[in-house]
C-alpha cells in the first residue's frame, strides 16, 4: 500500500462541554486550516444530542466546506479509528490527496440510566433486554478470565491507578485526579465486581486528523477484524480473538513483531479490557496480562507503556471519538508537538467497537 501520513491533528479537552456534537466538531476541526478533498465524520450521539441527521454535511457546512464531499461512518465505539483506516484507503485510491477525519460526541446531556441504555444498544437484543450493560459484559468476561487464570481485582486496581496517574499531565483529560488504593476500594460497584473506578467516564469531546500522502507521522500498519455481536458466542474465553486478528494484519503490514512497539494506546473502557488486550496484542502471554499490569510492565517505565495519555479511563470516553483521540495523542507524542514528547518512533492504537466485535489496530511511525 502507498504511504499515508497523519499530517496534522487537533483535539479539544474532554469533559462536560454543554455543546452539541456538530458544534464540538467545528470547535476542534476548525484549527486544521488545510482544505481537505473529502471529510469523514463519526458521531454516535448526533441524532440524540443535536437531533441532527445528515451530520457530516452539517459539520462540513459549519467549517465553510459545504461543497466538500463527506461521509458519516459508524462502527460504534471504534468509529474514530475506522475513519483513519477508511481515509487511508481513499488516499490510496488516488482520487483524493487529503482527507479530514473528524469525530465528536456529546453524551453528558443524557442522564446516567439513559446513557447506560444508549451504550447497551451496541449489544444483541436478547442481552440488552435481559438488562445487560457494557459494564456487565466486561464484568462477565472478567469473571471468566479471573476464574481461569487466578487473577483478582488488585490487577484491575493497578490499571485504574496507573491510567489516572498518567492522565494527570494530560490537558485534554476529563478526569485529572490521582486515584489511591483506598479511593478504588471505596468506589461504588457498577456491575460486580467492577467499580466506578474500573469504568471510563461518559464524556463529551472531539478529535480531528488530516491525512495526506505527503508527510508527517506514517501509518505503517493497519488491521480491521470483526466478530460476533455477542462476546459470549465465541469459544471459551477467547473474547478478544478478533483483536488478535486485527493485530496480526497490522504487524504484518508494518513488518514488525509486538516487541517492536515503543508505546500503545489501548481501549480501556473497562479495566479488564486493558489486561485482556495486552494479551490479544501479543505484549504478553495468554493469562499473563494481569501480572504484567501488577508488575508495572505497562507503566511508563515498563517494557510496554500502555495509555501514557491516561487512556479512556482518565481522558474520558466520548465513544466515537476515542479511537481518533488515541491517534492524536500518538501524533503529539511522536512529533513532540503540543503537550507531550515520548521517546520512541513507533506506537500502536487499538480501538474496539461494541463487545470487541468491530476492532481496529493502527501502527504509526516517525
Amino acid at each position: 500500500m502507498a504511504d499515508v501520513f497523519v499530517s496534522d491533528a487537533s483535539m479539544i479537552p474532554f469533559g462536560k462541554k454543554g455543546k452539541g456534537a456538530v458544534e464540538l466538531a467545528y470547535e476542534c476541526a476548525s484549527r486544521i486550516t488545510v482544505r481537505p478533498d473529502i471529510i469523514l465524520f463519526a458521531s454516535m450521539s448526533c441524532m440524540n444530542s443535536d437531533r441532527q441527521g445528515n451530520a457530516s454535511a452539517a459539520v462540513a457546512g459549519e467549517l465553510g466546506l459545504s461543497d466538500c464531499p463527506s461521509f458519516q461512518v459508524d462502527t460504534s465505539s471504534s468509529s474514530g479509528a475506522a475513519l483513519v483506516q477508511l481515509a487511508s484507503f481513499l488516499l490510496c485510491s488516488g482520487r483524493y490527496d487529503s482527507v479530514l477525519a473528524i469525530a465528536s460526541d456529546n453524551l453528558t446531556r443524557m442522564r446516567s440510566p439513559e446513557a447506560t441504555a444508549f451504550f447497551a444498544s451496541v449489544l444483541p437484543p436478547h442481552e440488552r433486554d435481559a438488562g445487560c450493560t457494557m459494564p456487565s459484559v466486561a464484568a462477565l468476561l472478567w469473571s471468566l478470565y479471573s476464574a481461569k487464570y487466578g487473577a483478582d481485582e488488585k490487577s484491575l486496581m493497578s490499571v485504574s491507578i496507573k491510567n489516572h496517574k498518567n492522565g494527570l499531565s494530560n490537558p485534554y483529560a476529563h478526569i485529572r485526579k490521582n486515584v489511591t488504593a483506598e479511593d478504588y476500594e471505596k468506589s461504588r460497584i457498577v456491575s460486580s465486581p467492577l467499580r466506578v473506578l474500573d469504568c471510563a467516564p461518559v464524556s463529551d469531546g472531539a478529535a480531528a486528523i488530516l491525512l495526506t500522502r505527503k508527510g508527517g507521522v506514517r501509518i505503517s500498519g493497519m488491521g480491521h477484524a470483526c466478530d460476533t455481536m455477542s462476546a459470549f458466542s465465541r469459544p471459551g474465553e477467547r473474547a478478544f480473538r478478533a483483536v488478535s486478528a486485527a493485530a496480526r494484519d497490522a504487524y504484518a503490514g508494518a513488518s514488525i513483531v509486538p516487541g517492536d512497539i515503543d508505546f500503545a494506546e489501548l481501549h480501556d473502557a473497562f479495566t479488564p479490557f486493558e489486561i485482556m488486550e495486552t494479551e490479544a496484542l501479543g505484549f504478553c502471554e495468554e493469562g499473563q496480562g494481569f501480572k504484567a499490569a501488577m508488575d508495572g510492565e505497562t507503566s511508563p517505565e515498563g517494557s510496554i507503556p500502555v495509555n501514557l495519555s491516561g487512556g479512556l479511563k482518565s481522558r474520558g470516553h466520548p465513544v466515537s471519538v476515542s479511537g481518533l483521540a488515541q491517534m492524536v495523542e500518538i501524533y503529539y507524542r511522536l512529533t513532540g508537538t503540543d503537550y507531550a514528547k515520548t521517546e520512541g518512533r513507533r506506537a500502536l492504537s487499538l480501538s474496539i467497537g461494541g463487545a470487541a466485535s468491530n476492532n481496529f489496530v493502527t501502527i504509526l511511525e516517525v
Binding site: 437484543p125 436478547h126 438488562g131 456487565s136 462477565l140 460497584i189 457498577v190 460486580s192 460476533t228 459470549f232
Partner: protein, 99 residues
C-alpha cells in the same frame, strides 16, 4: 421438559437465540428443541441499570449442556457452578436452579 429453541448447524455449532446462518461457518442452521439445562460459568450483579430497569438485577452466563453460551437474567440467587435451567421470557432468557 422442552423449554428452549436452539439453532444447530451441520458443523457442530449451536446458537442461542437460534441463528438463521451459522456464526462459525455461515451455512443455514436447523432449529432444534432442548431442555435448557446448563451450568452457570459467570455472574454479575448490576447496580447501574439501563433506563427503566431495576437496580440489583443478577445476570449470569450459562454454558448449556447442548453447547451454546447465553447471558440470562437470574431468577433468585445463583452462583458460579450452579446447575440451572434456561428458558425464554419474551425477548430475552432467564434461568433458575429448578432443574
Amino acid at each position: 421438559m422442552i423449554l428452549l429453541l436452539l439453532g444447530r448447524c451441520d458443523c457442530g455449532a449451536v446458537s442461542l437465540p437460534p441463528e438463521k446462518r451459522c456464526h462459525v461457518c455461515g451455512k443455514n442452521t436447523m432449529e432444534q428443541m432442548d431442555d435448557g439445562r446448563g451450568r452457570v460459568i459467570a455472574v454479575t450483579c448490576l447496580f447501574s441499570p439501563q433506563e427503566g430497569m431495576e437496580e440489583g438485577i443478577m445476570l449470569c452466563l450459562v454454558a448449556l449442556d447442548a453447547g451454546a453460551q447465553v447471558v440470562c437474567r437470574a431468577m433468585g440467587k445463583v452462583a458460579r457452578g450452579d446447575e440451572v435451567t434456561v428458558r425464554e421470557s419474551g425477548t430475552f432468557y432467564i434461568c433458575d436452579s429448578s432443574v
